[in-house]
C-alpha cells in the first residue's frame, strides 16, 4: 500500500514537473495557491469556495495578463517548498516579501500594504492625532515620513507606547521616536491592547490589518485607530505574489498587471471592500 502511494506521488511529481517545465515561458494557464484561512486576505466560504482580497485581486490580475487562473488552498507552512516543487505557479496568501523568503523564491511588486498604525483610547489626549489615515513610506518618501514624525513628537512627548517585542513597530520606535516616548514591550499584541484599555499605556503601534480586527472586539470598544500610517523600508514592502525564481516572464507579467491595478484604482476599491481602508502600496 505504501509502495503504491509512493509510486503515485512520484508519478504525480514527474508529471507536474514536466508540465511546468514545458510551460516555463508564456503560460496560458496557471495555478495560484492561497491559504484560505487568513481573512480578510483569503478565506474559505462555508460551501468550500475560496474568497478574499487575494482571490478577488488575483482573478482581476489574471484577466489583465490574459491567463486562465485556478486557485487552490494550501497550508501556509509548506507553501514555499510546494511552489518550488512545481505543485502550483504562484502564491497569493497575504505573504510579506521578507529577505529570508527572498533567498528561496521571487516576489512580484507589492499588491497590498497595511502599514503600521497607532491606536489609542477614545476621549484620550491623543484621539485627535493629526494626519489621520495618511500613509507615509519609509522607502519612497523617507523625508515625508520624518516630517510626519516631527509633527507627532510634541504630542507624543513623554507618552508611553506599547509595542510587541522585537516587532517592526518596536524598531520604528527605536529609530524614529527614541527619547521622546517611553516604550513598553509586550509578548503579544493582545496584551498591549489590554494595557491600553486599562490605561497603562497611552498609545500602541501595530499593523493596521491587526488593529482593524482589534478595535472591532467588544472588550476593546474604547480603542480607536488614530494618526498616520507608516510602511516600506524596514517596515516591510507588504504582501506580494510569490513566484519561482526561474519564472521571470511570469513575474514581469504580474508586475505589469499589479502596476495597472494600482493605477486604475482596482487595489484601492478591493482593499476598501475587504479591509475597510485603502492599502494600495505607495
Amino acid at each position: 500500500m505504501k509502495l503504491i502511494k509512493t509510486a503515485i506521488a512520484a508519478a504525480f511529481t514527474v508529471v507536474t514537473l514536466m508540465a511546468t517545465g514545458a510551460a516555463a515561458q508564456d503560460k496560458t494557464e496557471i495555478v495560484i495557491a492561497t491559504e484560505g484561512a487568513f481573512p480578510p486576505y483569503n478565506l474559505t466560504r462555508p460551501d468550500g469556495t475560496l474568497d478574499g482580497y487575494d482571490i478577488e485581486l488575483g482573478k482581476n490580475l489574471c484577466e489583465r495578463m490574459k491567463i486562465k487562473c485556478t486557485f487552490v488552498a494550501q497550508a501556509f507552512d509548506g507553501i514555499i517548498p510546494a511552489l518550488n516543487a512545481g505543485k502550483f505557479d504562484a502564491i497569493m496568501a497575504g505573504m510579506s516579501a521578507t529577505d529570508k523568503r527572498k533567498e528561496v523564491i521571487d516576489f512580484s511588486m507589492s499588491y497590498g500594504s497595511t502599514g503600521q498604525a497607532f491606536a489609542t483610547l477614545k476621549g484620550g489626549a491623543l484621539e485627535k492625532m493629526p494626519m489621520k489615515d495618511e500613509l507615509f513610506s519609509l522607502a519612497s518618501n523617507e523625508a515625508g515620513a520624518r516630517k510626519a514624525v516631527e509633527q507627532l513628537k510634541p504630542l507624543l512627548q513623554g507618552k508611553t507606547v506599547g509595542v510587541q517585542t522585537a516587532s517592526i513597530a518596536a524598531r520604528f520606535m527605536d529609530e524614529y521616536l527614541k527619547g521622546v516616548v517611553q516604550v513598553r514591550e509586550y509578548k503579544t499584541t493582545e496584551q498591549h491592547d489590554m494595557d491600553l484599555v486599562a490605561g497603562r499605556v497611552d498609545v500602541v503601534m501595530a499593523s493596521m490589518g491587526y488593529l482593524m480586527t482589534a478595535v472591532a472586539k467588544p472588550t476593546n470598544s474604547d480603542m480607536t485607530i488614530v494618526g498616520p500610517r507608516f510602511q516600506g523600508g524596514f517596515l516591510g514592502a507588504g504582501s506580494s505574489v510569490g513566484l519561482r525564481k526561474t519564472d521571470t516572464a511570469l513575474k514581469a507579467k504580474f508586475d505589469e498587471a499589479i502596476a495597472a491595478a494600482k493605477a486604475d484604482g482596482t487595489t484601492k476599491k478591493l482593499s476598501t471592500k475587504w479591509f475597510g481602508f485603502d492599502m494600495t502600496p505607495q
Binding site: 517585542t165 522585537a166 513598553r184 514591550e185 489590554m194 494595557d195 486599562a198 490605561g199 497603562r200
Partner: protein
C-alpha cells in the same frame, strides 16, 4: 561559539541586573515580614487568624506564580472601579505588580518555613527565659526568634534562591529584567542558546553569592554547634 557575541550579550544583560536584584530583594524583604505575620497567625491559637493563614497559604502555594502575576497585572486592571481608586497608582506600574505578586507568593512558602523554625525551639529555653523574668515579647525577641531563624535558615535559603529565579517571570508583564532583555535579544538574533547560556550564568552568579551570604549568616548564628577550636591561652584567665 562566538565569543564576541557572548560578550556583547553579557554587556546588554548586565544592564538589567540591577532591576533583577531590586525585584528579588524587595520581594524577599517584604515577603519575610508578611511570612512572619502569617506564621504567628498560624501559631496564635486564635481560630480566625489560624484559618485565614491556612487559606492564604493554600491559595498561594497551590497556584502557579505565573498565574498569580497575570491575575494581579492583567486581571485586576479589568475592573473599572479599581482604576478610579488610589490603589491604581500602585497597580498601574508593572514593577509594583511584580513585587506584590512575588512578595505574596514567597510569603506563603516562607511562613511555613518560619513556623517550622518557631516550633523547633525547645520549650526548655522559653521556660528558662520566663524564669528569668522576661516578658512574652522579650522572650520572643531574644530567645525564640533568633533560635527559630537559625533553624529555618537552610530551608529559607532555598526559598530565597527560588525568588531570585522567579523574578524572571516578571518579564511577561513588560519588565525588562535579565530574562526580559534576553528574550528581546533572542527575538532579534534567533540565537537562543548563546543568550540563554549567558542569562543562566548571571543567575548562577547571583545565587552563588547569595548562598555564600546565607552560609556566612548560618556560621555566625551557630557558634554553639561548632567544635570549639583549641582554646586560646588567655581564655583560662578570663574564665
Amino acid at each position: 561559539m562566538d565569543i564576541l557575541f557572548l560578550w556583547e550579550t553579557f554587556l546588554s544583560l548586565i544592564t538589567a541586573l540591577p532591576l533583577t536584584l531590586q525585584l528579588a530583594a524587595s520581594a524577599i524583604v517584604l515577603g519575610a515580614f508578611l511570612a512572619l505575620g502569617l506564621a504567628l497567625c498560624r501559631l496564635s491559637g486564635i481560630l480566625p487568624l489560624d484559618w485565614f493563614a491556612r487559606a492564604y497559604i493554600f491559595a498561594f502555594r497551590g497556584t502557579p506564580l505565573l498565574v498569580q502575576i497575570f491575575l494581579i497585572y492583567y486581571g485586576l486592571s479589568q475592573f473599572r472601579g479599581l482604576r478610579q481608586t488610589i490603589l491604581w497608582s500602585v497597580l498601574r506600574e508593572p514593577y509594583w505588580c511584580a513585587v506584590i505578586a512575588l512578595m505574596l507568593n514567597t510569603a506563603a512558602y516562607s511562613s511555613e518555613i518560619i513556623r517550622g523554625g518557631l516550633l523547633s525551639v525547645p520549650f526548655g529555653q522559653v521556660e528558662a527565659a520566663r524564669a528569668c523574668g522576661m516578658s512574652r515579647f522579650m522572650t520572643f525577641r531574644r530567645i525564640t526568634l533568633p533560635l527559630a531563624i537559625r533553624q529555618a535558615l537552610p530551608g529559607y535559603s532555598n526559598e530565597m534562591i527560588s525568588m531570585v529565579k522567579a523574578t524572571s517571570l516578571a518579564s511577561i508583564i513588560t519588565i525588562m529584567e535579565v530574562t526580559g532583555v534576553a528574550a528581546r535579544i533572542i527575538s532579534e538574533t534567533y540565537r537562543a542558546i548563546e543568550v540563554f547560556i549567558v542569562a543562566g550564568a548571571i543567575y548562577l552568579a547571583i545565587n552563588f553569592i547569595l548562598t555564600q551570604l546565607v552560609a556566612f549568616a548560618e556560621y555566625r548564628l551557630s557558634p554553639h554547634l561548632r567544635q570549639p577550636a583549641a582554646l586560646p591561652t588567655t581564655s583560662t584567665g578570663a574564665a
